[in-house]
Symmetry: C4
Subunit: 203 residues, 4 copies
């Protein structure tokens, strides 16, 4: 099966997740600067979650540039990822409603951790579907950033019991690390376009 509908469906779900979070934003209760300031933490957590969904969409986009066909296992591994991402509006809203209380802040981190694990599983399922000579496996390589992120999430979840602002800093650090452009995929896509034998070159 080609990847087009998986990409279209994922684009749809991610577009909706990134947008409906704005529906959970509390409209300020009055017209003053004080009211707007009271709503500011909600805007900042919205920004953080927006960036996370943006990162996943960006990485998803890059990943499937190098995948040419999918099977049923890949479809479900992708839905599994979308499930944990779809809970982000919920965990963001709870964390925001409780003004960064320990448990909601930890649960937000658990959701990010489960997204990262689901992403890892998705990659592994694609590797297996592609077989031993998987080009994607070579491109992904050791994936240091992918292995360090869960560690930082775990630290952030643990820190929530003590000081929740440390958790938020750690979650933000991971987001910033992923904002730094990752050249692995773009180099691989360019290489595939240069060589005429790549099956990804005709995309």
């Amino acid at each position: 099966m080609p990847t087009s509908r998986l990409e279209a469906f994922s684009d749809g779900v991610l577009a909706i997740i990134i947008t409906i979070m704005v529906l959970e934003l509390k409209i300020p209760h009055g017209p003053t600067a004080h009211d707007l300031l009271a709503a500011a933490p909600g805007l900042l957590t919205y920004l953080l979650s927006f960036v996370y969904i943006g990162i996943y969409w960006n990485n998803h986009h890059h990943l499937f540039q190098l995948v040419s066909t999918v099977n049923g296992a890949v479809l479900w591994a992708n839905l599994h990822l979308l499930f944990w991402l779809s809970l982000l509006p919920f965990t963001t809203a709870w964390m925001d409603d409780e003004r960064l209380a320990p448990l909601p802040t930890a649960v937000y981190g658990v959701d990010l951790l489960l997204c990262a694990i689901a992403w890892y599983v998705l990659q592994q399922v694609i590797f297996r579907a592609e077989g031993a000579g998987s080009r994607l496996r070579r491109v992904v390589g050791t994936d240091l950033k992918g292995k360090l992120s869960p560690l930082l999430y775990v630290l952030g979840i643990a820190a929530a019991a003590w000081q929740t602002w440390i958790s938020i800093v750690l979650y933000t650090v991971v987001a910033l690390a992923w904002l730094v452009p990752d050249r692995r995929f773009e180099r691989a896509i360019a290489a595939a376009a240069d060589s005429s034998d790549g099956d990804g070159s005709d995309r």
Copy 2:
């Protein structure tokens, strides 16, 4: 007419249904583990409905891989299916609000049953549009799973009058049965790709 816009529209509707259910999730009323636990049944019914929409999207994806053109009747049979699926956020929310009371749990099952019937009707309308030599009809075959599911839904609906957890178990059993990979379509798609005369091979 080609199937591309029907697929794109269905992808859009299914992506929205699967995602807006999270808007119906009750944010826990406080920051404690007790508050989170009180919200847990809502999360579990969300998971069940998410899996159901995932299954329908997955099957829809597989089905239309083997359909090359559609007519007005297929468009309406597809909209009929989307109508019953679009009520899942509503029936899920009611069942969850009433903490698995008998009637809401039965109505949830009725919605699942109507989705299954709409799926069956969609298949039949496609068979008729494709005519006597329908390749899809051969691929779908006796469709044992498709015929047993409504039976289990009916059992679940009946059980709701007695013990609603039995209904939930039955609805979950059907979902699990559909999660088991179904090789009929993938084999047929692979076969079509191998042979050079199949009209599905150029997708």
Copy 3:
């Protein structure tokens, strides 16, 4: 400009309109059959609006099968149509909240009328963009159904001052008239596919 992005955007907007109406549905206030019955009128007006959006999507799909390129005026005429359609969840919810009171029922009809007018304008803008030899103009022809529908809407709006159930019957009659398959477009698409000179035949 090709029509692909206009179609994709319209599919997205229509998919969202048809799905978010379910968010406006009132969840029954209790677990009894009486509570469900109290929510039934909402379900019926949801069904009516669902069918209307389905009809517009269906007609939009057929229309743009025969359009090969668009200009800025067509984009805005299309957005104009989407605007009035996007108000249907709002007018449906108001009519339902006020249990078919005269004014909300009339306003619902006014919205349907404005959608019909926007549809007519969209067709005219496409005709003009295509020039004198517009194939679409020939296919649309006298468009009796398109001309009678506004009349029935106006009757329905007027009837709302007297008996709102007559309005609902009239709105339903128009919907049923559009559900009857319309062969003009399918014949034209088939004809274009048969002849090798049509520019719509390669879609």
Copy 4:
């Protein structure tokens, strides 16, 4: 990387933004003309925001007709634009809830200003990605309208401290200026289609 998924994702996000604003519309509290009139300002601000999203979609559509490949920087510049656009339902709802109070009306203008800046940044990032001979840069040219709009937004923001209806008039004037068809892109697309060497001609 091709632009197709960036366009599809942006279409999805814009389609959702333009549609969910209707969810923030207050349903009139009663069935009378008086109740409908009380809801009218909400409808007018909805219309203004709908037109703004329509303008951005329209311009986005035109812009990417002339862009053939994107890199990571373009993806993030695009997400940056979508972020500020995604806040429009929030700023619209606040302005409407507070019946055009000074601060909310100014904040609405700030959001429009940030959208305009994000649009400018997106264009610059594309120019840089395309290099010195960027065809798009020549098409965009001096972009008088793009440079005057921020000025009018700033005037509107300042005017909100004094008379908010002046702000609304200024925001509306900018919207109307963008509704006037802009022939730069359509001429360039037509020119690219005429010449056989253009890389945009094969779209």
